[in-house]
C-alpha cells in the first residue's frame, strides 16, 4: 500500500504572552511583555498507509489539534517534515485542499445561513466536481446519512447530529483521498454516534478513503480503528494496534470469584489480598506474569467455587493509566516511541 501521510520530527512551538496579574501587571504587560515558549508538538513522527483508519488520542492540550492543523495545511510547523500524498500541505494550499476532507466537531465548515442543499451545491464549482459525479455522490451520501429530512433547512437551525452529518457529507463530495475527522461525535447521543461511525467505516472500506480520527470517545476508537496513536504533552506515547495496547497496558486484570462455602482465609501466596464481600472475592493480578488459567487452577485446588468471572479493564482505564503514570515516556515497554 502506498504511503499517504509521512510526518518526521514534527515540532511546533508557540510563543505565548505571560499575563501578570493586577494593575501593575497590566502596565508591565503593555510595555514589557514577557513571553514563554510552549511546545505544542515535539518530535512527533509517524506514517499512515493509504486506506488506513487510525485513531489519534490524547487529553486536552496534548497537541492533537496542532497536528491536525499542520496536516490540513492551516499551520506551518516550527521544524520537521510533513508529506501528505506526496506534497507539503502548507506550500501548495489551494491544490492540496482539493485532495482532503476535514470535519471539525466543534464548528461547521458550511455556510451558516444557507439551506444544507445550497451549501453542498456551492461545493460543486468550488472543487470543480464533474456534475454527474457530484449528483451521484450527493445521492449516495444523502441516502446513507439520511440528509433528506433536513436538506432544505438552514445550517444554523440544524441539531448537532444533523449538522455533523451534513458536514461529513460536504467533506466527501469531492472524493478526497484523505479525511480528517476532529472529534466528529462530540456532544452526540448514542444513536447519532453510531450512525456516523457506520458511515465512516463505510467510506473507509468501500471507497478506500484514508481516515485520521481524533476523538475523546474511546468507543469510537474501539468500534472503528485497528491502529491508535496516543499523544500527550506534545509527544507521541504509543503508536500501534489497539490489541497491542490492550496487551501491553491492561496488565492488571481482575478475577471475581463466588465461593461455594464460607472461608476464613482466601489469600493466595504471591498475590495481594483480594477485596472481599460475603462469599465473593475480587483478585487483581498482572496477567503478563500470571495467566487467568493458572490463577483459576490454583483457586480450584484449594476452594470450592460456584462461579468465576475474568474482567479486563475497560480501554478508558488503560488510557487513563497511560496518561497518569506516563507509562511510555521512558520508552522502555511495549511499542513505545
Amino acid at each position: 500500500m502506498p504511503e499517504m501521510i509521512r510526518v518526521e520530527g514534527l515540532q511546533k512551538t508557540f510563543r505565548v504572552m505571560e499575563r501578570r496579574p493586577g494593575l501593575r501587571g497590566a502596565v508591565l504587560n503593555l510595555f514589557a511583555p514577557r513571553h514563554r515558549m510552549v511546545q505544542a508538538v515535539n518530535a512527533v513522527s509517524f506514517s499512515l498507509q493509504a486506506g488506513e483508519l487510525v485513531g489519534y488520542l490524547g487529553p486536552n492540550g496534548a497537541g492533537k489539534s496542532t497536528t491536525i492543523k499542520v496536516l490540513t495545511g492551516l499551520l506551518v510547523p516550527t521544524a520537521g517534515e510533513v508529506q501528505v500524498n506526496g506534497v507539503v500541505p502548507w506550500k501548495v494550499r489551494e491544490r492540496y485542499v482539493r485532495q482532503i476532507g476535514a470535519v471539525f466537531g466543534y464548528r461547521s465548515t458550511l455556510w451558516w445561513d444557507l439551506p444544507v442543499i445550497d451549501s453542498l451545491e456551492l461545493l460543486q464549482p468550488m472543487y470543480d466536481i464533474p456534475p454527474a459525479r457530484f449528483r451521484s455522490n450527493l445521492a449516495e451520501f444523502s441516502r446513507l446519512l439520511d440528509l433528506e429530512p433536513f436538506i432544505n433547512t438552514p445550517v444554523r437551525s440544524l441539531s448537532l447530529g444533523q449538522r455533523m452529518r451534513a458536514d461529513i457529507c460536504a467533506a466527501l463530495l469531492h472524493e478526497p483521498h484523505l479525511l480528517f475527522l476532529d472529534e466528529p461525535t462530540i456532544g452526540l447521543d448514542v444513536v447519532a454516534k453510531e450512525h456516523i461511525r457506520q458511515f465512516v467505516s463505510h467510506v473507509n472500506r468501500q471507497r478506500g478513503v484514508t481516515v485520521l480520527l481524533t476523538t475523546h470517545d474511546l468507543s469510537d476508537v474501539e468500534r472503528l480503528c485497528e491502529r491508535v496513536m496516543i499523544l500527550d504533552l506534545g509527544r507521541l506515547l504509543y503508536d500501534g494496534s489497539l490489541a497491542g495496547l490492550n496487551d501491553a497496558f491492561e496488565s492488571f486484570w481482575s478475577l471475581k470469584v463466588d465461593f461455594a462455602e464460607d472461608y476464613a482465609d482466601v489469600n493466595l501466596p504471591g498475590l495481594p489480598a483480594p477485596r472481599r464481600e460475603g462469599r465473593q472475592a475480587v483478585y487483581a493480578f498482572d496477567h503478563r506474569e500470571l495467566s487467568s488459567a493458572e490463577l483459576i487452577r490454583r483457586l480450584l485446588e484449594r476452594f470450592a467455587i460456584a462461579d468465576l468471572e475474568v474482567r479486563r479493564p475497560p480501554l478508558e482505564e488503560t488510557i487513563r493509566r497511560i496518561y497518569q503514570e506516563k507509562l511510555l515516556v521512558d520508552g522502555e515497554r511495549g511499542q513505545a516511541v
Binding site: F14, R15, T66, K69, T72, G73, L74, L75, V76, W90, R93, E94, R95, V97, R98, A102, R107, T109, W111, D113, L114, D118, L122, P125, M126, Y127, D128
Partner: protein, 269 residues
Amino acid sequence: MRRTLGLYLRLISIQLRSQMQFRFSFWLDVLTTGLLNVSYFFSTYLVLQRFGNIAGWTIPEVAFLYGMIEVAFGTMDMVFSGFDPDFFSVFIRQGTLDQVLLRPMSVAAQIFGSSFVLRRIGRIGQGAAVLIYALVTLDIHWTPAKVVYLPVVLLSQVLAMGALFMVGSTLVFWTVQRVEAINVVTYGGVEVMSYPATIFPTWLRGFFTYIFPFIFLNYYPALYFLDRPDPLGFPVWAPFFALPAALLMLLAAWRFWTFGLSKYQSTGT
C-alpha cells in the same frame, strides 16, 4: 481568474439572498443610514450658509467634494465589507478563517465573498443626491476628458479606502482585536477629503499627502473638474495622480496582507 470571479459572484449572490430574506428590516436600514447622512450634510450646509464659503469654496463646490467621497466610501464599504476590520476580527476570533483556508479558492476572494453589505446603498444614494445637486448647480466646463475621468476618480477612491480596510484587517492577525489607530486614518481620511485641503494645518495636510496620499484622490481631481487654481503649487499632473496613488496604496496593502496571512499560518491565533 474567471473561475474565481464566478465563485465570487456566487458567494455574493448568496449574501444578497440571505439579506433580502428580511426585506422590511433591510429597507429600514437603508432608509436610516441614508437619512442619518443627509441630516449630517444638512447641518454642515447650515453652517456653510452662515459663512458663505470655506476657504473660498462655495457650498456647491464643497458639495462636490463631499458627494464624491460619500459615493466612493459607500461603495467601498459595500464591496470591501469582508475586509472591514470590525467584521474581520470576528472572522478570526470565530475561526472562520481556518475554514476559508480549507477551501480551494483564493483566500482574499473568499473574504470578499464573505460579506456584501447591500444596505450601504443608503449611503451611496445620499452621496449621489448631494453630488447631483453639486453637478447641477455648478457650471462645470465639461470636456470628454472630464467625463471619462470622473468615474476613474471614483474608482480610485474606492480602491484607496479599500486598501486601508485591508491594512486594518491585516493588523488583526497580530492583535486579534481591531486596531483603533487605522480607523483614525480611514474615517479621518474621509473627513479630510470632504473639505478643501487648504483649511487643514500643514502637518495634517502633509500626513494625507506623503504618508496616505488622499489629497490626490479628491481635492486635486476636484481642482481639475472645477477649473480652480492650485494654491499649494504641486506639479500640473497632481490632479491626475488619483489612480496611481490608489494603486500604490492597494499594492502596499496587498503585500502587507500576504505577509500577515503567512504570519497567521506560522503562529496561529
